[in-house]
């Protein structure tokens, strides 16, 4: 009965219980058929999630069920830490075990690019697009997760999620100017996307290749990938809780990402 002495926390718990604050799961189910990013064949690949049952109330363990699991740090809904990219290799506290815990809770702004992505698999989010968005919706606040709602998560389970063609993957993402704007002008915490990578599918061919990873992590910012249910979030006002596993020296990890958002009405 000894509730938190902080009234804000107590109020939060009460509002969660009453439904005034919704808890929304932004995480995809982690299974072996959840697709992972594909790199050119000469490089090491991202292992999909694998699960091997050790025992299931049977001869190998009569009263218990448990599994051995294996995956890459960037399998399924996952968190990218600054150390993941070469530009971020010297960022202090750049690995998942070293990120201060307070960085796991931040507010989020949701930018809707669903129509644009539906019309163009390779839609590029430019600085111009973001500035136009601000004109319509208001400025992107500082120290926020910037979440790109592309409705790409609705493609999970189909070929068009990875959308691989002969020349590689085709999915939306930002260009370098957009990233510099978000990082330097808007001081974002990080970029969250519904696709397998913060960068566009064809981003390795940009003039400034792979700008999301390069600029985010080079500036100590984070990435969240394979998110879902972004269409349930308000444009402003939700709080993201994203806690990667505390892997020693880890570059990222699969995780459970939830949003606390005010009730829709």
């Amino acid at each position: 009965m000894n509730m938190s002495t902080n009234p804000a926390l107590a109020a939060m718990l009460g509002e969660i219980a009453s439904g005034a604050i919704r808890v929304i799961d932004l995480t995809n189910i982690l299974s072996s058929d959840f697709p992972v990013i594909v790199l050119p064949s000469e490089f090491g690949q991202c292992e999909p999630f694998r699960m091997e049952t050790v025992s299931r109330y049977d001869g190998n363990g009569p009263a218990w069920y448990w599994n051995n699991i294996s995956m890459n740090e960037h399998t399924g809904t996952h968190f990218d830490a600054p150390a993941h990219w070469i530009t971020g290799r010297d960022i202090p506290n750049g690995t998942v075990d070293a990120i201060p815990a307070e960085d796991f809770i931040h507010p989020a702004v949701v930018i809707d690019i669903a129509d644009e992505a539906a019309a163009d698999d390779d839609f590029i989010v430019t600085r111009g697009f973001l500035e136009e968005w601000e004109k319509q919706n208001g400025p992107i606040p500082a120290r926020h997760w910037v979440l790109l709602r592309s409705d790409w998560s609705k493609r999970v389970g189909t070929l068009s999620y990875l959308n691989l063609k002969d020349d590689g993957a085709h999915s939306p993402g930002p260009d370098a100017d957009a990233m510099r704007f978000l990082v330097h002008d808007r001081d974002c915490i990080g970029l969250g996307v519904e696709t397998v990578g913060t960068d566009a599918g064809q981003a390795s061919l940009f003039d400034e290749p792979l700008p999301a990873h390069s600029i985010l992590h080079g500036n100590g910012r984070f990435g969240l990938q394979c998110l879902t249910n972004l269409d349930q979030l308000p444009v402003f006002g939700s709080v993201i809780v994203a806690t990667p596993l505390k892997i020693k020296g880890g570059s990222g990890s699969p995780l459970r990402v939830i949003a606390l958002a005010p009730d829709k009405d």
């Binding site: 090491g44 070929l159 691989l164 063609k165 002969d166």
Partner: protein, 404 residues
Amino acid sequence: MTERSPREKRDPLARKKARHVSPATRSRAMHAMSARAAQGRFVLQVCTDCDKATYPPRDACPYCWGELVWQDRPNGAEILCETVIRTSTDLYFRDHLPWRMGKVALDAGPVALVHLHQDLGVNDRAAVRLMLDRGGNAALFALPPTGEIDMTDPQLREFTVPVVGKTVLVSDASSAIGLAVVKALHDAGAGLIVAGMLPPERLTDQKHPILNLDGVQPVPLDIVDQVSLSEALSKVGGPLDIVINTARHVRGGGVSEQANIVEQRRAFDVSAIGFTRLAQACAPMLAGRSHGAFVDLISSDALAGATDNAAFAAAEAARLSLLQSFRHEMRAAGVRVLSVFTGPVEDEHHQPVPPPKVAPARLAAAIVDALHQGREQSCVGDVASDAMARWLSDPMLYAREKNL
């Protein structure tokens, strides 16, 4: 061959027909004959002193007590007498009565009891082939010496693996080898070819001409993943007759130099553990079939290591070891486990390797031929044939010279 043979239909309520294998106990000398029959050779024991050939297999020359060695011999013969067996206490042969057999005088010298092809009779000339019966033991089969042999002869069918109308799973059909195998199976008249496609799927795969052939059903399949395997097999709606394991992970690298542990682990995951997963998942399905077979494509690097492809060679060696055990396990069910050895293949994984290399189409043809002949071990291409010959004659020397 464009006529699709219909897949087998039968009454689902009728109890499934039990498959038997005749008693498989043989002497050690007979096993030595079977080991050579597995390679497709016709051999007899020949005395090192008096040069006479002898049969049945034994442990001393009956003419002079000299030492006997196995040698390739001409396989012509004349049929002396015959019978049609109409009753038997053996469950396997009871299922296949009446059974015609006879006695031949081999050109090589001895007389032998043989299975008789339907087109042969007393006083005919014959070509005697050494083939493996359903229990995996060598037996002599007298065939017409010239002209095209009628492969539908019901007794001969017991020694081979028919492809027409059968359901075949190709474990990795997304590679150049796999696609060639799918095409070859299609051309040979397979009823349904389940083409395992390694994830991730690409949009362009859906339009691939081979994968769109009549009777080809692509399914996602990565044999290192238990769930993927179970789901792929669940899509085989009916019986599964033949599994062709084309899965492999070819990456260069050494042991203490240029080793890549991630690639080595994947190689073992595919060649060894994946093999076990695939065998375990498919064995019960194959065991119930009248002519179940598992064909494994394996590198001749499995024999003695390979300096530039150490991880791949090691994984293939593990595969070879598992094959021996698997083959023995499947004997009781009459399921043939065939090995097709190959050297470097003319594909994207062997770009730095100089010729001779085997074209995927040739490899695919060899696989189909191995099935049609019921041949347990085949070597495709000069590299594999050379490797096998050297390894058999002097394994320690071969291991040394292969890794210089």
